[in-house]
Amino acid sequence: MAISKDVYKEFEDVVGEENISDDPAIKDAYRSPNITVVLPGDTEEVAAVVKLCNKHKIPFKAQSTGWSFMPPTYDFIFLDLRRMNCIIEINEKNMYAVVEPYVISAELQGELFKRGMICNVKGSGSTCTALAMSGHGHMGLTTSTGDRNDLATEWVTDEGEIIRLGTLGASDEWFCGDGPGPSLRGILRGGGVITKQATKVYHWPGPSVYPLEGSSPRYTLSQKPSDLNMMVRYFSFPSIEKLVEAELKIGESEIAFELMGFCPSMVSSNITTSNEEDFATLDKFTKEVQGPGFMVIIAGNFPEDFAYKKKVLAQIIKETGGKSLKTVEDPAVESTLLFQCTRVCASIRETFRAGGAFSSMMVQGQRYDNHVRWLEEAAVLKRELIKKGLVIADDGQQFGWGEEQGHLGHTEIFCRFNPYDEKSSKAVQEWLGKVGKRALDGCFAVPAMGVLPIDEIGKHVSNYHIWFGKLKKAFDPNEVGENTGYSYVGADISGVHTSIYKKEPEKASSKK
């Protein structure tokens, strides 16, 4: 990046010589030729770096663990928050945990398990930040979703001001995001840097440590899931209506810990340890299922509770014509799904392993009726790509899950493909555009941003983007903060999670 030696020195003075670099090798590892990387150690250093960016009008961008970080094409100061990796507090009584950005979910979850508690973990996996931010995950049925879990937050604005939001604004307490004290939760959607955040935690009926045995990549539980008062099953249904009915009943009866609307390919990816094994297993599963399905995890607090929940589940499945996938009833397979889908430790088996990239379109808010119907259409379009041999053949299936016992939901469909095959990449991009547009035009849902232009989405939702633009301007007068479309923090706005960046980023002197 073309910042002068003097300016570089100013940043260096903030973070120390060993925590700044613009060496080409360092940049290569961040997949961006445009950056100077700084590793701030605390909130004050973050604020000082951001202030310097304002002073010199150099754009900046922060990352937590960097999994969905998409490097911009303009020159920027890049704040890698790796050194900010402390769990500040776990408050058992008020059920929250306060973390810095580079605490990963696996770490927080490990600590919480010991206390009989659990946090929401983003579906991307427990390598990602434990900050609440926006994030939907496997356990949403009981642990809700990222942007409904964030409580008090420490935030460095785009101008470098440190703001303490929620109860933190009026006290040292972290228990509420909305006050007493300022609440800016509604606008914490891109921009600034979250340096500490409290996230809600929930009751965990499972063990404090999973009794794992065996070696990688085939860990298994030394006890049967039923010995832990836990059970995993996969059910397929004769129709989407029956699946929806079953999901609603499960939510209503509050008997499940997790309900993951996996397609068979996600089950087979999870339980297999190589691509070859995965494709063979998927073939078998595709023949076994009768229609769309979901995976459900029951977790009893004690044997009688477990027995009750199982009984209710059996009744619901009977009423809705569900069919259990026999392979999952094998305790070894069940074990794998149990710890993997509660610890969220194998999502790259589901997404990247097969072809090297996946590209996703998701809709959020509710799950039933509209969203599921949109999915059916998106799947038809996906099957066309499969027929042409452009994406991994998984029968066009999709997935999603209910959140807060089904009052909310997340619905998603993705294509896995080889990102180095131009034809595939192009076809997938077009498919994304089509299904995104269909979601809007058919009034099914508002698709996640990144695929469609913000203006196009905005006009369907009260022109919120215009208001957001004004807010952004007020917070970021020097236009140095994130401006890639007021995306929600937590997932970068590009809908494409690929492992490559083929195009040389344009050499732009300014991000405008």
Binding site: A29, I104, S215
Partner: protein, 422 residues
């Protein structure tokens, strides 16, 4: 194979970051969640397994640009392979092999590290990885009456290794091994001055040619002596003879056994009786080169099947750390009366490195010490009085870290514990 041959693998890296940590389902909290010493110490993503692959990917496309920082990244890696295991829990791709090839390329193109050059010069001149080694390789064996395996046929050849042969503080391991093998009635011999460095550490440092020279020299000697079974107490040596020699088709039918495997066998067969009590609680440190990297080499040649899937013809079987040597050392420990084993958080295929691997103890002693101290603290947290290991390089690094940190923890090689029990 060269770095170019791993283009497909480096392109597969999705930047998930799992290679920084132990397998995620094993993470019990904020402590001991990291697997990679390099990222844990140096923080820039470049120092992680993934960062190294991403650099390789860029440079394979745009050409190799050697900056001081790049070399700092390259040489501050213990080649411990923890990243490789964590990645392969979920992915079908190589991680450590391209990292290793990257380093080999640096060496081949003359971008070496001065401290490692010194070590390699010693290897070239004296056949040992212990620079400035004085005296005879087998001075420790004087008066023990051990057979010379190059002069008479023996059932077992004991390869002593450079550090154990030359470092006065670790010759005790050779003596203990000889004593135990004698006690168990094993017909064994040593190579005396014909023993030469296995070359394994040279390979880790990137000096492939020097490694191959050593390997060829050793195999010629062993063949001439008619050796069928080689036993060694050095984890680096074990991995060299068993895995690397096989990789380069030099091993032939030689049976390579680590001393802990051999002792476990002798104990099972009733040939070695451990009857003296050793009242102590120890924790066990899996040396990387005995544990995950001690997994046998898998010969495979094939091509990626064109198309959208990352699959090969014939199907590629990956070394994922499943078949490393984990149980035999534990079996030996458990056979010693009075000795209790308390496990650390990071064990077996996801053990934390002692810090000495990849030549880091020579190229950056401070980093090697930092890594060892982390392990010492982890060992202490188990409540054990001592950390047991099965490699002289680990023992040496731990001893130095303990000296520096003032820890009260004791360090033993398993052969020392067995010696106490006979």
């Amino acid at each position: 194979m060269a770095i170019e041959d791993y283009r497909g693998d480096v392109e597969m890296c999705c930047r998930c970051g799992a290679c920084k940590h132990i397998p995620l389902q094993k993470v019990k909290g904020i402590e001991h969640s990291y697997a990679c010493p390099s990222i844990a110490k140096y923080n820039f993503h470049a120092y992680s397994g993934s960062g190294r692959l991403l650099i390789a990917k860029e440079m394979l496309t745009k050409g190799f640009k050697y900056t001081d920082k790049l070399l700092d990244i390259v040489y501050n890696c213990q080649m411990c392979g923890a990243c490789d295991i964590s990645c392969k829990y979920a992915m079908d791709m190589e991680v450590l092999l391209p990292i290793n090839e990257f380093r080999i390329k640096c060496v081949e193109e003359g971008h070496t590290h001065p401290a490692l050059e010194k070590v390699i010069n010693s290897l070239r001149k004296q056949g040992t990885m212990v620079p400035g080694a004085r005296g005879k390789r087998a001075a420790w064996a004087e008066g023990l009456g051990l057979k010379d395996a190059t002069k008479e046929k023996v059932a077992v050849y004991y390869h002593v290794g450079c550090l154990t042969s030359y470092d006065k503080n670790y010759q005790k391991l050779a003596k203990a091994t000889a004593k135990i093998l004698k006690k168990a009635g094993v017909d064994f011999g040593i190579g005396y001055e014909n023993e030469s460095c296995c070359g394994g550490r040279a390979f880790q440092m990137g000096y492939k040619e020097d490694f191959l020279n050593q390997a060829k020299k050793n195999m010629a000697m062993l063949k001439k002596a008619g050796v069928k079974t080689l036993v060694t107490g050095c984890a680096a040596g074990y991995q060299a003879f068993k895995v690397l020699y096989d990789k380069y088709n030099l091993k032939g039918k030689l049976e390579v056994v680590h001393i802990t495997e051999y002792l476990a066998r002798l104990i099972k067969e009733g040939k070695l009786k451990l009857n003296k009590k050793v009242n102590m609680t120890v924790t066990y440190h899996d040396p990387c080169y005995l544990g995950r990297l001690g997994e046998p080499w898998i010969h495979w040649e094939g091509k990626r099947i064109p198309g959208y899937k990352f699959v090969f013809d014939p199907p590629k079987e990956y070394r994922r750390g499943t078949n490393g040597v984990y149980e035999p050392p534990r079996e030996v420990i458990k056979s010693i009366p009075g000795l209790k084993l308390a496990e650390m958080d990071r064990i077996k295929e996801y053990a934390w490195c002692c810090g000495a691997g990849g030549g880091v103890n020579q190229s950056n002693p401070e980093f090697a010490m930092w890594t060892a101290k982390e392990r010492i603290e982890e060992a202490e947290s188990t409540g054990a009085e001592a950390i047991a290991t099965a490699c002289p390089w680990c023992e040496k690094n731990f001893n130095e870290a303990i000296k520096k940190s003032g820890s009260a923890l004791k360090v033993y090689d398993i052969v020392e514990l067995v010696e106490k029990a006979i």
